[in-house]
């Protein structure tokens, strides 16, 4: 019994050490992979934020009231309706 012990304990420890070493390597690798992925996500977020800000500005520029006003009046020949041709559909509260 005691002889089996003295033989197997070191072997088991050795195997455990090996397994732990491999696990460390795997964990480290995973960590790097995750960090890279996270970094990529952050970049993507930055890029999207940039784009979002630019699109907002673009929208505001294209939708600027002065521009709409000019296009409506000059290019589309639109007019503001006189008050008496506006019919309120909802009864005044």
């Amino acid at each position: 019994m005691s002889r089996t012990w003295t033989l197997w304990v070191p072997v088991a420890l050795l195997l455990a050490v090996m397994a732990s070493a491999v696990t460390v390597v795997v964990a480290k690798h995973e960590n790097r992979a995750q960090v890279t992925a996270l970094d990529q996500m952050r970049r993507e977020r930055n890029r999207l934020e940039t784009e979002w800000a630019q699109l907002q500005i673009e929208e505001a520029t294209l939708g600027h009231h002065a521009r709409i006003n000019r296009i409506a009046r000059e290019q589309l020949d639109m007019l503001e309706p006189e008050h008496h041709v506006i019919v309120p559909l909802e009864a005044p509260r």
Partner: protein
């Protein structure tokens, strides 16, 4: 095999007697080796000591420099939005491209490529760079879109770098420029709301310690992490649609009358939210270089005080009614059109005989107002103005608000009492008048004005009784009726109450100027239950200068549009059907009748 060397030695030993076995070794050799190893060991240990102990910090920092990076995470500045979420100020990332001139000049080919990318002549770029030879940092393009910067970097010209930054954009441009203000290049607010709300808008940059590999990819997150805090976004109470309308009509009126400037403020009568605040002349907040010196930066509606002139009369009448000294049937004799008060002669423009209060307001009789004020006494007049908040600040939260000047009644003589009755000797800003009229509009409850659509608000205060407010409103409707001074303020489909005013400006030489006026109109729509209160003031118009001629039409245009935009139900009697048929319809044919 092993025997043979022995045999040889044996042979040799036959001749000379030499001891058998290995030759004895000198003791010095052993010591030499030992010492040698000791020296080597000492060298190694001392070198290790040197590296590990003495140079440790230096080496570690050098190593970290090559690997560990402190990445700054920018804290965005908050946006400024109108009440519907339309952006008035936004931060967007930009890039600036800079060069090391020597590195670019080293190869003529790269100068040529760079010039092509920039759209500049190679020779011109050559001179530009040569003039800055020896410098380590020269901006090539500042604050351009990141996409554009990427394109320049992709030319792969040595010595060209970029840095990213944030720039502030004002999509509404000149329309809301004075209210929003602007921030400087360092992102700190310099004017307007950008300055007043700096603490809320500004973000705090965070940082992150990471380890990077040679190609710049992050391979390990150090865990040390200060999160970036983005600035809050700010919802103003402005409605950009109404704001644009006010801006457009004001700009047109100022241009038409060749006035020095003007302002428009439109507020929600019940909540006190300011829906539009426009001022002329204006400036473009996106034009970084010129805006710092532009005359239009001043937000006249808040930072300029003026004498309200005749527009103060309804407040006087409200106080007279409130005190019970007069009622709607009271008759005041203004025959002759002049009134002598000490050295002061009060004059009317239109001569009338005996008039009631409504007519007094409709024709804007100074004599009548002065008579009421003198009958009430200085204290009552003063207390009336105090009720309407003319003696206290508006607390609009806008920087540089003009404080009111309403002297204590004990300083008033007869003359001061008489002049105060028609709005001279009292100085307020436009918001004071809007707030006072909002009290009349809101059945006597005076709301506190605000420029924010969220946050805590001071509760409204009672200025006058609901009955008084209603009576004054009905009188003010006569001002806009045929024969009143403000008939050009009429808004089709709505009943309008308002008051025009024309104030002479104080001349630079002292006294009142004979030909410099401020034309004012203040009114509310619709009379029965007013939703909007607005003021229009045109500063130094050329030609016509009466409030009813210059300011009232602007009021009419802005209110007509605002009532439609805000879907305020018309309250005027519907136009007769035959009038609709006879009315000229727009040629584009909106109707299918």
């Amino acid at each position: 095999m092993t025997k043979s060397p022995l045999k040889k030695r044996a042979k040799a030993s036959n001749r000379t007697i030499v001891p058998v076995g290995p030759k004895p070794v000198g003791a010095w050799r052993g010591r030499f080796i030992l010492i040698g190893f000791a020296v080597l060991a000492a060298l190694s240990v001392s070198r290790a000591f040197h590296l590990q102990v003495i140079e440790r910090d230096f080496l570690r920092s050098e190593g970290d420099k090559r690997q560990v990076r402190n990445l700054t995470i920018p804290g965005h500045r908050g946006a400024i939005l109108d009440r519907n979420g339309e952006p008035l100020a936004l931060s967007a990332p930009v890039s600036s491209v800079w060069v090391v001139p020597d590195a670019v000049l080293a190869d003529p080919e790269s100068v040529k490529r760079l010039a092509e990318g920039l759209g500049r002549a190679p020779s011109e770029l050559q001179t530009f760079l040569a003039a800055r030879k020896g410098r380590q940092f020269v901006y090539l393009r500042e604050q351009i879109s990141p996409h554009e910067a990427r394109r320049l970097l992709d030319l792969k010209v040595p010595g060209v770098f970029s840095e990213s930054d944030f720039a502030r954009y004002y999509p509404a441009g000149e329309v809301a420029a004075q209210v929003v203000g602007f921030a400087g290049r360092d992102g700190i607010g310099l004017e307007g709301m950008e300055k007043a709300q700096e603490a809320r808008l500004s973000g705090t940059a965070g940082n992150r310690r990471v380890i990077r590999d040679r190609s710049g990819r992050v391979i390990e997150d150090g865990g040390e992490f200060t999160p970036a805090v983005a600035g809050e976004s700010l919802n103003l109470s402005l409605d950009l649609r109404v704001q644009y309308l006010a801006y457009r009509e004001l700009a047109a009126a100022v241009a038409k009358t060749e006035a020095k400037g003007g302002l428009v403020v439109i507020a929600n009568a019940q909540t006190g939210e300011i829906l539009a605040m426009a001022a002329q002349p204006g400036f473009n907040p996106n034009n970084g270089d010129a805006r710092g010196f532009a005359a239009g930066i001043r937000n006249r509606a808040v930072v300029d005080g003026f004498e309200p002139g005749s527009t103060i009369k309804p407040l006087l009448v409200a106080q007279a009614l409130e005190l019970g000294l007069y009622n709607t049937q009271s008759i005041i004799d203004v025959t002759g059109g002049t009134l002598q008060v000490g050295r002061l002669t009060v004059r009317d423009i239109a001569r009338r005989g005996e008039i009631d209060l409504a007519t007094l307001l409709a024709v804007s009789s100074n004599v009548g107002a002065a008579k009421i004020a003198l009958a009430m006494g200085a204290e009552n007049v003063w207390a009336g103005y105090q009720r309407f908040g003319l003696g206290e600040p508006v607390f609009s939260g806008f920087p540089g608000e003009a404080l009111p000047v309403l002297r204590h009644f004990t300083d008033w003589g007869q003359i001061a009492t008489a002049t105060a009755s028609y709005g001279y000797g009292v100085s307020v800003n436009a918001l004071h008048m809007v707030r006072a009229y909002a009290a009349l509009a809101n059945d006597g409850m005076m709301p506190q004005l605000t420029l924010f659509s969220d946050g805590l608000r001071a509760p409204p205060q009672r200025a006058v009784s609901p009955a008084t407010a209603r009576q004054v409103r009905e009188m003010l409707e006569q001002v806009v009726a045929e024969g009143g001074t403000g008939k050009r303020a009429r808004v089709e489909g709505y009943r309008v109450a308002g008051k025009s005013g024309t104030a002479r400006k104080v001349a630079a030489t002292g006294g009142y100027s004979a030909n410099k006026h401020q034309a004012i109109f203040i009114g509310m729509v619709p009379v029965e239950r007013p939703r909007l209160v607005g003021i229009v003031m045109i500063d130094e118009p050329k030609g016509q200068y009466y409030g009813g001629q210059v300011a009232a039409p602007v009021f009419s245009e802005v209110m007509q549009g605002a009532a439609r935009l805000l879907q305020i139900a018309p309250d005027a009697q519907p136009v007769q059907p035959q009038m609709i048929e006879s009315a000229a319809l727009p040629s584009s044919g909106v109707t299918r009748r």
